[in-house]
C-alpha cells in the first residue's frame, strides 16, 4: 500500500494522496469519461505530474482550495476542481485542467489521485477501491516523493508556465526548493 495521508491543523479533514505510475492511455480516457458522467467512484482530484514540483506545492494547492471553500470564495463547482485550479498560476479553469488534470495525450502517464475525506473513512479501503476501479496493478501504486516529482517535471516548461524565467536563482540553495517557493507565490497571487 502506497499512499500518503496528512491533516491540516486548521481543518478536521484528512487528505489522501495516492500515486499511480505509467497508467495506460485507455484507462486514462476511461477515467475522464467517468469523471464527466459524475461517477461517485471517481470522486478524486486527478493530476498528471508534469507541473507539480514538490509535495509542498501540491499541499499548498489543496490547502488554498479548502480555505476558499470555507470562505465561500471558491471559483469552481467542486472541491476537486478547486484544488486543480489552485495549483495553477492562471485563473482559467479549462487551462488549469488541461495542464494539471489527466494527461491522456501519451501512451501512458502518471496519475496522482487526491481526495479530501472525513476522519472516519478508511484510507486503505479508499486506496484499494481506487486501484480496483482503475484496473491498475498494485506495483503501479508507488509512494509519492519529492525526488519523483522533480524527475517528472520538465523544468523549462515549468518555469514558462509559472513565468519564472526572469527570476534570479541562488546556486547555493536547491533548485526544487526555490521553484517550490516561487510557484506557491504565483499560485497565491492567481486572480488577485
Amino acid at each position: 500500500m502506497a499512499f500518503l495521508s496528512t491533516k491540516f491543523p486548521s481543518f478536521d479533514k484528512t487528505i489522501f494522496i495516492s500515486l499511480l505510475v505509467d497508467v495506460d492511455q485507455h484507462t486514462l480516457e476511461e477515467v475522464k469519461t467517468k469523471l464527466i458522467e459524475g461517477n461517485k467512484d471517481y470522486d478524486f482530484a486527478f493530476f498528471n505530474t508534469n507541473y507539480i514540483i514538490s509535495k509542498e506545492h501540491l499541499l499548498n494547492g489543496i490547502h488554498r482550495a479548502m480555505i476558499n471553500y470555507k470562505n465561500g470564495s471558491a471559483k469552481s463547482k467542486t472541491l476537486n476542481t478547486e484544488i486543480i485550479l489552485n495549483m495553477s498560476p492562471v485563473s482559467n479553469i479549462m487551462e488549469a485542467l488541461k495542464r494539471f488534470g489527466i494527461d491522456s495525450s501519451k501512451e501512458s502517464a502518471n496519475l496522482l489521485c487526491v481526495k479530501v475525506i472525513d476522519d472516519d473513512e478508511s484510507l486503505e479501503d479508499i486506496n484499494n477501491t481506487l486501484i480496483t476501479n482503475l484496473g491498475v496493478s498494485k506495483d503501479q501504486n508507488v509512494e509519492l516523493t519529492d525526488d519523483f516529482l522533480l524527475k517528472s517535471v520538465d523544468v523549462a516548461k515549468f518555469k514558462k508556465l509559472y513565468k519564472l524565467n526572469d527570476a534570479k536563482y541562488n546556486d547555493k540553495k536547491p533548485l526544487q526548493n526555490q521553484l517550490t517557493r516561487l510557484a506557491i507565490g504565483a499560485c497565491l497571487l492567481r486572480g488577485t
Binding site: T6, F8, P9, S10, S54, K55, E56, L59, N60, I62, H63, R64, I67, N71, S73, L164, D166, A167, K168, Y169, N170, P174, Q176, N177, Q178, T180, R181, L182, I184, G185, A186, L188, L189, T192
Partner: protein
C-alpha cells in the same frame, strides 16, 4: 502561538505549526503569521476590501522580492478574506534572547560593549550590507515605505527586510529619497550616539547596491531640508 509584535494595522504571531506541510522547503522550523484583524470603526464592506487589498499587496510585494532574490521572508500561504499571511521565520536571536533585528543588535552592543564595540568593523560591514540591500530594492523600483532598524532582521550576518505593509512600486527619486530619509531619522532617534557613523555606512552600502543612486542622493539633500512631506498641507 505567541505574539511577537502588535501594530496599528496587524498582529504578528510566531508558531511552530506549518499550515499544510510537515517538511517545507524553508530553513527555519518556526513560522510567522501576520494577521490584520477587522476594524470595528470601519464600514464592514470597506473594511473587508481594505483588509483584502492590503494583504494581497503585501503578498505581491514579497513574491516580487523572492523573484528578484532580495533577502526577505518567503510567503508560505495567505488567506485574503481573513487578512492572514503565513511566512517564513527569519532571524537567529541575540545572546539575550531578543529578536535579532538591527535595532536590538545595536542596542545590545550599546549595553554590553564599550564604545569601540559599537562602531567596530563588524558593525560597519553589517550596516554597509543593509545599505546595499536597500539599494538593490530601490534599483528595482521598489519602495519599502517603513524602513526602520527594527524592520531589518539579521540572520547570521545577512540582513533581511520585513514588514511590507506600506510598500509600493515607484521609480521616482523622490520616493526613494524619502524612504532613505525615514530610515535616517529612525536611526537618529533610536541609536542617537553613533547615528552619524551608522548613517554614513548605510549610504555607503546604498551606493553599492543601487547603480543609479546619484539622483536619489541629490534628492535626499532636498528632503533633509524640508522633511518627509512634499507639500506644507496636511
Amino acid at each position: 502561538m505567541d505574539v511577537v509584535s502588535q501594530g496599528a494595522e496587524a498582529v504578528v504571531f510566531v508558531t511552530t505549526s506549518h499550515p499544510y506541510c510537515s517538511q517545507p522547503a524553508v530553513e527555519n522550523d518556526k513560522y510567522i503569521i501576520k494577521y490584520r484583524p477587522s476594524k470595528k470603526y470601519r464600514h464592514p464592506k470597506i473594511d473587508a476590501q481594505i483588509t483584502k487589498n492590503r494583504t494581497v499587496g503585501e503578498v505581491r510585494f514579497m513574491n516580487k522580492l523572492e523573484k528578484l532574490g532580495i533577502n526577505s521572508p518567503s510567503v508560505i500561504s495567505a488567506d485574503y478574506v481573513n487578512g492572514i499571511i503565513w511566512m517564513e521565520f527569519i532571524g537567529d536571536g541575540l545572546p539575550n534572547g531578543d529578536i535579532s533585528s538591527v535595532k536590538n543588535y545595536l542596542w545590545y552592543l550599546e549595553k554590553n560593549d564599550d564604545d569601540d564595540g559599537c562602531v567596530s568593523d563588524e558593525v560597519q560591514s553589517m550596516l554597509v550590507a543593509v545599505g546595499r540591500l536597500i539599494g538593490e530594492l530601490h534599483a528595482n523600483d521598489m519602495i519599502h515605505g517603513d524602513l526602520t532598524s527594527s524592520n531589518i532582521l539579521l540572520n547570521g550576518k545577512e540582513p533581511y527586510l520585513i514588514d511590507f505593509g506600506l510598500s509600493s512600486i515607484s521609480s521616482l527619486a523622490e520616493d526613494k529619497a524619502v524612504d532613505i530619509y525615514v530610515l535616517e531619522r529612525a536611526i537618529e532617534s533610536t541609536h542617537s550616539v553613533f547615528a552619524d557613523s551608522y548613517n554614513k555606512w548605510l549610504l555607503k552600502g546604498y551606493v553599492q547596491g543601487n547603480k543609479k543612486s546619484k539622483e536619489v542622493l541629490a534628492r535626499l539633500e532636498e528632503v533633509r531640508l524640508r522633511g518627509r512631506k512634499r507639500s506644507m498641507l496636511g
